[in-house]
């Protein structure tokens, strides 16, 4: 969550309140912001669940996004 806030701050964007049901596209962040978040998470967690498989799904809500990473970490 800290990454979301940090990237929003850097890109000068207003972030919506972060809840599980929040749709990522309504969070106030654009594709570039998500791209940066994924890259930084790869740097800190050492995993990129998007590129892990050629059948990657795309998360719609913040809850999806989090479980996406939790699932990949197992």
């Amino acid at each position: 969550m800290a990454q979301f806030r940090q990237v929003a701050r850097e890109q000068g964007r207003r972030l919506a309140p972060l809840t599980d049901g929040l749709e990522l596209l309504n969070s106030g962040l654009d594709s570039l912001c998500f791209a940066i978040i994924v890259t930084r998470l790869e740097g800190s967690l050492g995993l990129d669940p998007f590129s892990a498989s050629e059948d990657a799904r795309f998360p719609v809500t913040l809850g999806d996004f989090v479980s996406f990473y939790e699932h990949a970490a197992k």
């Binding site: 596209l25 791209a35 940066i36 050629e54 990657a56 795309f58 719609v60």
Partner: protein, 467 residues
Amino acid sequence: MNMLRNSRASLRDGLSAVGDLTARSVFGAEASRAWSDLAAGTVLAGRANELCRRSVVVATTNQLTALATLVELDGAARRIVLYPPDLSLEYLPYVVQSAAADAIVSDRPTTGLETPGIASLTPSSWTMMPANPAPKVEHETEWVLLTSGTTGRPKLVVHTLASLAGAIEGGRPPADRMVWSTFYDIRRYGGLQIFLRAALTGTSLVLSSAQETTADFLARAGAHGVTHISGTPSHWRRASMSSSAHLIAPEYVRLSGEIADQAILNHLRSLYPQARIAHAFATTEAGVVFDVNDGLMGFPADVIEHTPHVVMKIENRSLRVRSNRTARCYLGDYNHAIRDAEGFVDTGDVLQLREGRYYFVGRGDGMINVGGMKVYPEEVEAVINGHPKVQMSLVRTKKNPITGALVVADVVLKIASGPASNDMGELHQDILRLCREALPSHKVPAAINFVPALAVADTGKLIRRHA
């Protein structure tokens, strides 16, 4: 046969050749127009004749207004320059000078350019054309597209309607239910292709809008019954993250403007099981080169030799293309030839052959494609190198599952500045601030790595590993 191969045919001629257009429309986010009205109306208060034989920059914010202006001016103006809405107006004087423009059509303030030699028109509310439409000139109108250059200044790429429409078979009655749409702005090559395709086949078209969310656009496209839709892989990844992605049920999904990876192709296959999914290779300079329809990334090797109307060859691993769809020349400071002596355009895209299939593996010039937007490393390096503590820097691409690629920078600091490690975070932020002030956000490095040295060749140039 495409009637536009006759170079005297204008866009209006093409529109009138497809028959009854009253039931086919262009749907903008704010307003809509029937193609038949676009073929016979004016947004320039009937003053297009004042722009005859002129070089006209079209810099409107609204896409529908821009589209109507293009229909009105093709065949009348000597040259039309398509100024994209996201390009800063700071480049307008350069574009005006490079294109020898003597008229501007804009609903934006173009302060400083209201000089006596330049006619300035503001598109106004819709009216039908007076009885005597603007006289047609006896030569082809040049269409000038703007694309990113190594210095941040746009490159001006000269096409004609015939070269732009070279891949479109026009003049056929459209299928009844066919509705085109595109995530692209029509002033970008990818969007212009869809606009011309819709116009020359008499098909309804749903325009996107920069002011609209992805969800709202998808809902609107769905409401208009879109059957054919195009965008970059990054547009499609963004759409895939929307719960509104299911509001459209296209028969045909087209990807272009970036390398399509297997993940997005597979995802679209499962999202739209009924659709034909194609990825196209096209560039502003080389034009439309080929489509790939087998659902796999890369392309079969025989495409090189068996693509109708297009000659391809690979030299120094880079794909070169010759066809009647390539651009004619550049205007302005960037005075390289687009075509070589034999008429080939070097796309700069580096290919690798693996088991009978070619894959795009990078760029000869290091250009980084961030979600369909070009970034040249030199431009970003120049900004970073402007920091007093930076000795040199190398900007390179990093693969990304959302935007295809991101920009990252390796930075060597001046020895004298030798910062203690606790200052590094501050310096990092300082360099990023400098980049954010000077560059649009997609060109700002997503990561900065401080490195002790960069490899320099005997020539004194940085060694780049692009591909």
